[in-house]
């Protein structure tokens, strides 16, 4: 028998189980317990965050109206090659579908969807459905063309062939001012024809950047003051900063309407002081929008900067001064770099919140100050066009993610501190 090599002694616990296994088991239980504590929050985030965003992504390409209500036409159009007009079988399928749509009262829904692509089609579809329901038998091609000449136009059929599919690119393309023409080529939509969204996105960006810069300029000195005052004074001033923060958004915005309107407090004061001789147009303008948004966003920028400043020991600047640095040099080289994480956090928060603003520009801004959320809200509440609203949301989300990636490349995501 060969001598066994001495195996390393396995450390065992009192009940004979190897220590390593016991340790692993305890670790696993600890991790499970930690996960159980976090699980409700994770579930909450998945439900309120991931699910709506996924639904929005789905809705921006979902195209159920025609696929569900023109089933025979959808099948028949698969065989159409796109040149000239479709043959009799497709016309017959359309006639059957429209007759059924008239009976089920879904013709208006079909017309509404086609109306997005070709204005004026809604009434034609409803009229065609009503008339074709009375026609007993084919051939349908001539009958349909006689009811409305649009059925002899290749563009109508090209649009129909695209729109009967369950998935569509129409909404996403419209959100970036593009569309497919009759030959399925990408073309730009001119601004006179509704191609306004790229301009609105740019406007949203510009307003957000302006508001972020304005809040930064106001918040930094204020945060410095709050951080360097003795606690009692600082607490009192902090309450003054937070009090408007705790007031409802709509109340604050309405207060700005009262202040900025043509016969409001600001204009009356300026007239009385003799600074101007005619009231200024402060409300329903870009100025009013920026001022109101800055006021509302100020605490969001201020608080992260304040919390970071609070952690900076005043002895750092004193040490720099004692080593011979001038006041500005000491501030710029010793104090300011330590506040950058707070600035990064505050600015990021304000910028992303400002991108989604809707109520404030709607109340104090003019028609050329409306941001992208206004249009998304319009499509939902006035038209019930979920596709368009979702598409605008998707483009905004993509733009925000890209900007955030750019931001983290510049600033570094690990450098963002909320306090």
């Amino acid at each position: 028998m060969t001598t066994a090599i001495t195996a390393p002694t396995i450390v065992r616990t009192a009940d004979g189980v190897p220590l390593k296994a016991k340790l692993q088991r305890v670790e696993r239980v600890r991790r499970l317990r930690a996960f159980a504590l976090v699980a409700p929050l994770l579930l909450f985030i998945v439900v309120t965050f991931v699910v709506p965003i996924t639904t929005m992504l789905y809705r921006s390409v979902d195209n159920p109206e025609l696929a569900a209500n023109l089933p025979r036409t959808a099948v028949a159009l698969k065989g159409w090659h796109g040149q000239g007009l479709p043959d009799e079988a497709v016309f017959a399928a359309l006639a059957a579908d429209l007759a059924e749509a008239h009976a089920n009262k879904t013709a208006a829904l079909i017309g509404k969807r086609l109306n997005y692509e070709i204005p004026g089609t809604r009434s034609k579809i409803i009229a065609t459905a009503r008339k074709i329901a009375e026609v007993e038998q084919g051939p349908y091609k001539d009958v349909l063309v006689k009811i409305d000449p649009t059925w002899a136009a290749r563009e109508t059929w090209a649009v129909l062939a695209r729109t009967v599919r369950p998935v569509t690119s129409f909404y996403l393309l419209s959100a970036i001012d593009m569309r497919l023409d009759a030959d399925n080529q990408l073309t730009r939509i001119p601004s006179s024809d509704g191609g306004i969204f790229l301009g609105v996105f740019w406007r949203t960006l510009v307003i957000s950047v302006t508001v972020t810069s304005a809040t930064l300029v106001l918040a930094f000195p204020l945060a410095y003051l709050l951080a360097s005052l003795p606690t009692r004074m600082s607490n009192l001033l902090m309450i003054l900063v937070l009090l408007p923060f705790w007031t409802a958004l709509l109340v604050r915005t309405t207060a700005w309407v009262v202040l900025l309107q043509t016969e409001g407090v600001v204009n009356d004061a300026l007239l009385w002081l003799g600074v101007v001789d005619k009231p200024l147009q402060l409300i329903f303008s870009r100025f009013g929008t920026i001022v109101a948004m800055t006021h509302i966003q100020l605490p969001f920028t201020l608080l992260p900067i304040y919390s970071v400043m609070k952690t900076i020991s005043p002895s750092h600047v004193r040490a720099a001064r004692s080593l011979g640095a001038g006041p500005f040099y000491a501030f710029w080289r010793v104090y300011f770099p330590q506040t950058v994480p707070g600035i990064a956090a505050g600015c990021l928060l304000t910028f992303i919140l400002a991108l989604g603003y809707y109520i404030t520009p709607a109340l104090v801004g003019g028609p050329t100050d409306q941001m992208i959320s206004y249009f998304a809200a319009y499509y939902i509440s006035e038209e019930l066009n979920w596709g368009m609203a979702s598409a605008l949301g998707v483009v905004l989300l993509t733009a925000t993610i890209l900007l955030f990636l750019l931001y983290s490349r510049l600033v570094g995501i690990d450098k963002v501190k909320l306090g």
């Binding site: 317990r33 159980a36 504590l37 409700p40 089920n104 009262k105 879904t106 013709a107 208006a108 829904l109 509404k112 109306n115 997005y116 204005p119 004026g120 809604r122 009434s123 409803i126 601004s191 006179s192 024809d193 509704g194 191609g195 306004i196 301009g199 609105v200 309107q261 043509t262 016969e263 409300i283 329903f284 028609p367 050329t368 409306q370 249009f375 319009y378 939902i380 509440s381 006035e382 038209e383 019930l384």
Partner: protein, 355 residues
Amino acid sequence: MTIKTGLGLSGLLLAGITAGAFADAAPAAAQDSLTIVSWGGAYSDSQREAYYKPFAKDFGVKVTEEEYNGEIAKIRAMVEAGDVTWDAVDVDTRTVLGGCDEGIFETIDYSKLGQPKEKFVPGAAEECGIGTIVYSTIIAYDANRLNPGPTSIKDLFDLEKFPGKRALQKDPFVNLEWALVADGVAAADVYGALNTPEGVDRAFKKLDTIKSQVVWWEAGAQPPQLLADGEVVITSAWNGRIQNAVKNEGKNFKIVWDAQMPDFDFWAIPKGPKNLDLSYKFIAYASDPKVMANQSKYIAYGPTHTDAIPHIAPEVLADLPTNPENLKTALTLDSRFWADHRDELEKRFNAWLAQ
């Protein structure tokens, strides 16, 4: 506190919150209730006095009011989701026609209303709605600020004679017709022109001439407020709101009846309501001529039932848009045009506004 106690407490809290949430959703008491939706402000006040309060008293039904600004999308959403919480909605003509096409309103069974269709003013007895008032979109001004004031619709577009801001509804409805009339199109040819792209372009071009001076309102209560604040000198409005400000708030506003656009408001029932019979009961009550005549006491809107007119006092009749004096240069609404072209004209209007 140990982890065990912490977990136990949070479990209890979660259970408590869930129980509370479900307790709210439990069905209410045995009394019937009705949710009626209208446009808010002085108009809803008049409906409350003339209809909701007497109906609740006579029939022992609880009436809940809600407001909206005419967004057909909200009704569409409810019917599509199959969860209709509105039992009766006050809608305008283009909504009742467009909504009927889409099948989102119940077809009115006139036998249940107890009123024959013929007794209603022509245009007020629709397939999916029964007319309740005749209102009109007009322009108004503050006589304290503009003296002499505008006398015709052309003055709305005349920035030299009447400088200052104007307020218009944030909707192409009526604004396009007024633009064409002010540009010289005869009242009878307005819709013929709007049916062509050149006509629509012409209307937008005319609106361009005052665009920079316009404040856009969305809620019916805004125009008298904007006039009172001095924010605008001329505003478009629904006549009853202006007359309410004159009567109840002592304002010196004057209405210009030239090119007024009379229209009906209808009671409509969204498809699939919780209690169809109760909805019909309410609408039947509100369509009774004596009850309908009562509403004109509270707001200057006319009745749609021909038998209601004798019940209205002559001085009230004089203020109504249907007074022949006021109807002399009125426009005639083509609601079928708006039912068909609403979506694309609104899209064009929003694009025009955003630039």
